[in-house]
């Protein structure tokens, strides 16, 4: 397995004592949420003594006991279905789908029940469930271990869909997701699990339903989320060498979509592109491009571009580098505009 190391970030924060990995920040968030609220429970495949295949739940079963953190039978619909029942009965389950594509057996429970129970019962039965899903590629995973399935979830009313790109957001967004009375699909970019950065535990960076401008610029707005935030930042750094000023927005929340933050930036720069790993056709970027265009058309100097995965199944490990959007591919796309 090849691991996509982020050498720049790792080097920059190596001295900072509070620096933790994104996976470690998620682990802290789970531990802190469980300490504060007895109704928070964690279960799924291998999340107990092993600590999850990405070690996100490392040490939790030892600390909180196996009646609050436990290994379930290996069945994703069963995990989501029982979490729904628990949430109907006062619990706040945080469950793990081991890999993106392994969430598909739970598709019915998520789309037909988790998303709809509140509406169906006019608010009588709320389902504060967090479904953690490690997603996207870049780790040399074999087939079914690298999907970006966000559009399946964002197309489902009733679900909140978020994805952090850094340890601080990982910590706070997971805390906020667990506190939310709505079901949250929490997408964890697995290529970023080992990224290290400082986490400020005193105040959350932003509410769960807001995007963030993480680099200011004047010429182009790049809209990215999860694993592609690094791609966007790399592209912005390269573009600077060519005197192109790029603003980068980390969307953070995919549903709801933060029209205000994105609209404000796009009206300023007049050009935008959205980057994701998922296949382009019918992907989340299509919604972003359409939505941002509809609301900001007369402020736009050019059509909104999508830099996405090709419309092919996610490739085998040795071919994924040709599939995944790169900073160079982003800049090449921006070159297709008439400037």
């Amino acid at each position: 397995m090849t691991i996509a190391h982020d050498t720049n970030v790792t080097a920059a924060v190596a001295q900072a004592p509070a620096s933790v990995t994104l996976a470690g920040a998620l682990n802290s968030a789970l531990a802190d949420a469980m300490s504060e609220d007895d109704s928070v429970v964690v279960f799924g495949e291998d999340v107990g003594p092993l600590g999850g295949v990405f070690r996100v739940t490392d040490g939790l079963s030892a600390r909180f006991g196996d009646d609050r953190v436990w290994d379930s039978p290996l069945a994703e619909a069963g995990i989501v279905g029982t979490a729904i029942g628990m949430a109907m009965n006062g619990m706040r389950p945080v469950i793990e789908m081991q890999f993106d594509a392994f969430s598909y057996p739970a598709f019915q429970q998520i789309t037909s029940h988790l998303a709809k129970m509140r509406n169906r019962t006019k608010g009588a039965l709320e389902l504060p469930v967090v479904v953690r899903i490690p997603y996207a590629g870049g780790i040399g995973g074999v087939e079914h271990h690298s999907d970006s399935s966000e559009a399946y979830w964002t197309h489902t009313p009733g679900l909140t869909v978020v994805t952090p790109s850094n340890p601080s957001d990982a910590y706070w967004m997971l805390r906020q997701a667990i506190s939310s009375n709505d079901p949250v699909i929490f997408l964890e970019p697995k290529s970023r699990y080992w990224m290290k950065d400082a986490v400020d535990h005193s105040t959350p960076a932003a509410p769960l339903d807001r995007a963030r401008v993480i680099r200011t610029g004047t010429d182009v707005t790049l809209l990215a989320y999860g694993p592609t935030v690094k791609t966007a930042m790399d592209a912005a750094a390269l573009a600077e060498l060519e005197d192109l000023s790029i603003e980068v927005i980390d969307l953070r929340t995919l549903s709801p979509f933060d029209d205000e933050t994105v609209g404000g930036s796009v009206r300023k720069t007049t050009r935008a592109a959205v980057i994701h790993e998922a296949a382009q056709f019918g992907g989340y970027g299509a919604e972003v491009a359409a939505r941002v265009t509809e609301r900001n058309f007369f402020h736009l100097a050019a059509p909104i571009l999508r830099i996405a995965g090709f419309d092919v199944p996610f490739p085998s490990p040795k071919l994924e580098e040709y599939f995944l959007p790169t900073a160079e591919r982003v800049l090449a796309a921006l070159d297709t505009w008439e400037w």
Partner: protein, 335 residues
């Protein structure tokens, strides 16, 4: 054998349920309801389960289990607002401790297991009961529910009403198992194959299983062998897949006639009492008709009100859009 008072109560509720079912099927044929999956013929399973549940227990029903809801105290209009098309569920689940009637098969069985497990974790003496049909046992989620319940020793009772058909598909095309109750062995839980048209037997077996669940004994799988006397719904045509002879064979085994003749023979059911119960059933039918004669007040703007606990700007925009559209169409009507 449950005592006579209990049997009389079961009989009474079955008679009311039958009358309700017949009335609602008639209303559906008249076009008052969008659809209605009838439980006619399955009253022994439905009523035994509803009666065996304690107040704090929860029921996880399917779309076919309306009469169990009725027996557990849900008002006719609250049950039927779903089938009339007012909203996807019409009653307060917490008030009656009943989950919404599930349309996707077997999915609610997992909810029952999770719910029961949460109660067990808090050391509460609460059990859950999930209804399934024979067709639903072919679904993967039935298997997952049975397995999770057994592994976690969840206080859940699964009542499979084997009514012979999944819409048009007979049981012989659904499973090669000798009985569906046999499947319990593979999960490591007790399984009981019961005459599903014998309300006394169903009540006794379900009561025992619920007691066992509440006392830490884990889950039980119960198969009640019964028969769906009506079509799947009003849009189904059973003549395409089953003969009258088969239906008539089952009519002889009618669950209400059986308990009624037993109670009469035992002297527990007098003619006076039988007439009183019949009157109550007519009263319920009349109330049901009246309720369905009233047009429901539906507010289209409520579409937006319950989707999320956390308000969304985009939904508020769409709500405003619909409100404006409604106002202008009202204005057009007035002009």
């Amino acid at each position: 054998m449950p005592e006579a008072g209990i049997l009389l109560d079961l009989y009474r509720r079955m008679v009311l349920a039958r009358r309700f079912d017949v009335q609602v099927t008639a209303l559906t044929r008249q076009g008052r309801l969008a659809t209605y999956p009838s439980g006619l013929g399955q009253e022994a399973c439905e009523i035994a389960a509803a009666a065996a549940l304690a107040d704090d227990d929860w029921l996880f029903p399917t779309y076919r289990d309306s009469i169990a809801l009725l027996a557990r105290g849900v008002k006719a209009v609250e049950i039927l607002s779903f089938f009339r098309g007012d909203w996807h569920s019409g009653f307060d689940p917490k008030q009656r401790r009943i989950a919404p009637q599930s349309t996707p098969l077997a999915t609610q069985a997992l909810h029952a297991v999770g719910f029961a497990t949460a109660s067990k974790m808090r050391h509460e003496s609460v059990a859950t009961l999930a209804f399934l049909g024979d067709g639903a046992t072919s679904e993967g989620e039935a298997h997952e529910a049975f397995n999770f319940a057994a592994v976690w020793q969840a206080p859940t009772v699964f009542v499979v009403q084997n009514n012979g058909y999944a819409i048009s598909v007979p049981f012989s095309k659904q499973s090669r198992a000798r009985t569906l109750a046999d499947k319990a062995i593979g999960y490591g839980m007790p399984g009981h194959f019961v005459d599903g048209n014998d309300v006394a037997a169903m009540y006794a077996v379900i009561t025992d299983a619920l007691d066992r669940a509440r006392n830490g004994g884990g889950p039980t799988l119960i198969e009640g062998l019964t028969y769906r006397m009506e079509a799947h719904t009003n849009s189904d045509d059973p003549s395409r897949y089953r003969g009258d002879e088969e239906v008539e064979r089952w009519r002889v085994l009618d669950p209400i006639a059986r308990i009624e003749s037993y109670l009469i023979r035992e002297g527990a059911l007098t003619e006076k009492l039988r007439a009183e119960i019949a009157d109550a059933a007519e009263q319920l039918a009349a109330e049901t008709r009246d309720a369905m004669n009233e047009s429901p007040h539906l507010d289209p703007l409520e579409l937006f009100d319950h989707v999320y606990a956390t308000p969304r700007a985009a939904l508020a925009e769409q709500r405003d859009y619909l409100a404006t559209e409604l106002e202008s169409s009202e204005a057009r009507h007035l002009s």
